[in-house]
């Protein structure tokens, strides 16, 4: 195939930009969608919920019980919202979902503890949504060892846990405080570029067919590669504007750290946008009308958001799902963007995720150009 002619390409690009500018609603969507998603995902989603409502039934009024309750609240995960006298009420509160946890301190807890009888403390969780409770439950692990350290003095010191045989040290690297936004906001870049990129190009080409202008375009001396470039380049520019919006919000709204090179990020973004636009272009060669193009875009979008590791941990998925996820460019892009921003990854670390996107781009472009009919046959 001969190289695309720059002047014909230029004509396509200028036309595409004019049409984009005239189509106010689409234009608003290109900028509006990222902002809406930033607000919704950025501000609303928290995968590490704290201050969960907790009901307490305490039949014991010793200093130890008070210390325990204090320790629960200090962990940050529990907030005592109800204190009940009848333990049956705990079931009710859990059942209607008014509280996430129910804590039962049995009668004689302090006394039994002092005696060394190892009394039982019951914490019931509404674990229907594992994500809502798992971190709080995790925090309980330390509780029985540390909560009463201040109270177990003098003769009671023997009840303290002996020091463990080895010391465990955990470093939560890259995001020590576990701030959800640090993960979600950079990831949004991939989601936004996938959603708008695929759909915009799919619609832009299908529109030509639907309005009958494709017949005219085919009768003119523009080649498929030129049409494709002309359709894709304007949307790459749009993609960069979206990236800029997300980066500015990440920096100034959510305080996401940006350790790595933004140049490297820009380069990866280019490849990623191109891959999405090529998908959109391919869809447009299959779709008969704009509605179908839209539907196909959603078919692509769904696995992109669910199987890429954006919403749910990639490693938590079964092998087949991981395999599908690994084909999608957004999966690799998420790793790249999170790696560059949070971990400060360089070219070397990014490369293993860059080449799958490049390969995807090449394959899809070949399909698109093969499928793009230069005639009306």
């Amino acid at each position: 195939m001969r190289l695309p002619n720059l002047r014909r390409c230029g004509a396509m690009i200028v036309k595409e930009f004019i049409q984009m500018r005239r189509d106010r609603l689409t234009f608003a969507m290109m900028i509006g969608v990222p902002i809406m998603q930033l607000i919704m995902f950025g501000f609303a989603i928290n995968t590490d919920p704290k201050h969960l409502p907790t009901a307490l039934h305490s039949a014991d009024h010793s200093v130890f019980s008070r210390s325990l309750v204090q320790a629960l609240e200090n962990s940050g995960y529990f907030r005592i919202t109800r204190e009940v006298d009848d333990p049956k009420q705990l079931d009710w509160l859990l059942a209607i979902g008014e509280v996430q946890f129910a804590v039962t301190i049995p009668a004689g807890f302090g006394r039994d503890l002092q005696r060394g009888d190892h009394p039982l403390l019951l914490i019931e969780a509404d674990a229907t949504d594992p994500a809502a409770t798992s971190n709080a439950i995790g925090a309980l692990g330390q509780l029985n060892r540390t909560a009463l350290n201040h109270d177990l003095t003098g003769p009671l010191a023997a009840l303290k846990d002996p020091p463990p045989a080895f010391e465990l040290r955990i470093h939560r690297r890259y995001n020590p405080e576990g701030i959800t936004q640090y993960n979600i906001v950079p990831g949004l870049m991939g989601v936004i570029l996938t959603m708008t990129g695929v759909m915009m190009t799919a619609l832009a080409v299908t529109r030509e067919r639907e309005r009958g202008t494709m017949e005219n375009l085919l009768a003119m001396p523009v080649k498929p590669g030129e049409v494709m470039l002309g359709k894709i380049l304007p949307y790459i520019a749009v993609g960069y504007v979206q990236v800029l919006v997300v980066l500015l919000a990440a920096r100034f709204l959510f305080g996401v750290p940006m350790i790595g090179s933004l140049w490297l990020l820009s380069g990866s973004v280019l490849l990623f946008i191109a891959a999405n636009l090529a998908v959109g272009f391919t869809f447009s060669t299959i779709a008969m009308n704009q509605l179908q193009a839209m539907q196909m875009s959603f078919f692509f979008f769904l696995p992109s958001i669910l199987l890429s590791g954006y919403m749910f941990p990639f490693r938590g998925m079964p092998d087949w799902a991981q395999a599908i996820g690994s084909v999608l460019p957004v999966t690799h892009f998420l790793r790249i963007v999170r790696g560059i921003l949070l971990k400060g990854n360089g070219v070397h670390e990014v490369l293993p995720d860059l080449w799958p996107i490049a390969l995807f781009l090449v394959l899809v472009t070949v399909i698109a150009l093969k499928r793009y009919r230069q005639t009306l046959d």
Binding site: R8, Q19, E215, A219, D377
Partner: protein, 309 residues
Amino acid sequence: MTAAAPLAIDVHGLNKSFAGRPVVQEFAIQVRRGQIYGFLGPNGSGKTTTIRMLCGLLTPDSGGGTCLGLDIRSDGAAIKRQVGYMTQKFSYYEDLSIRENLEFVARVYELRNWRGLVDQALERLGLTKRSRQLAGTLSGGWKQRLALAACILHEPKLLLLDEPTAGVDPKARRDFWDRIHELAAEGMTVLVSTHYMDEAERCHEIAYIAYGHLLTRGTVAEVIGRSGLFTWTATGEGVGPLARRLSGQPGIDMVAQFGTTLHISGTDRAALEGAVAAARAGTGFAWAETEPTLEDVFIHLMGQSKDNF
């Protein structure tokens, strides 16, 4: 125009079917350079498909030939540069202004001095002042003018017009045809499909196709002469009832009413005269034998050809 003028279009044996349904069958046509060639036929007769094959938008299933001396099968790209194709439906960008549309076309054809050419085209159209208006807001007649201006911007040697005047008022149609004759006089070859008989009569030569078959071709006089059709007219107030009485009579193939005049046609001259003689007695209408009109001929041809769908 002489018979020795080189052929702009020379195709033969063209076949095209869609989903197993033949749309164009064994089609052949020769058009000399500088000619205005009319392309007539009922809806769905394969006119658009044939035009699309000529400009490389469709590949014929079999058959071939040349367009401007270039092979229609292999030289599609080269043909596209020298052919202007005006589609049946307005196919420029409605969300682009008049000027932007012309500029786009000029740049796609890589025309030198495209700004100047666009200015000229706008001036010629008389649209210089409205050049910023969106094409979608133009009326049918203006859209058609814009489309014509756009498809001759690159000065094609051959112009293919697919029902260019459908839905355009008579004045705009006349202006349009005047322009077509100007272009032909400058040496452009024009192939135009139409349903209008008055437009067919403005063509140097015509071809009539129905249901994928070429039925007749030649100048208007030749087509009428070759039709083997004979026509009588009856003129007067109240010819309507007569029309109903005559149609279906032996010797009469076709009766058509034009205002107060009836056209009574048949292929057997003697039988027609016999039927007319029997009918005219005592009617008080003015009777005369005339040349059949082009429309008579076409309706007759249409009635003869079998719909293959």
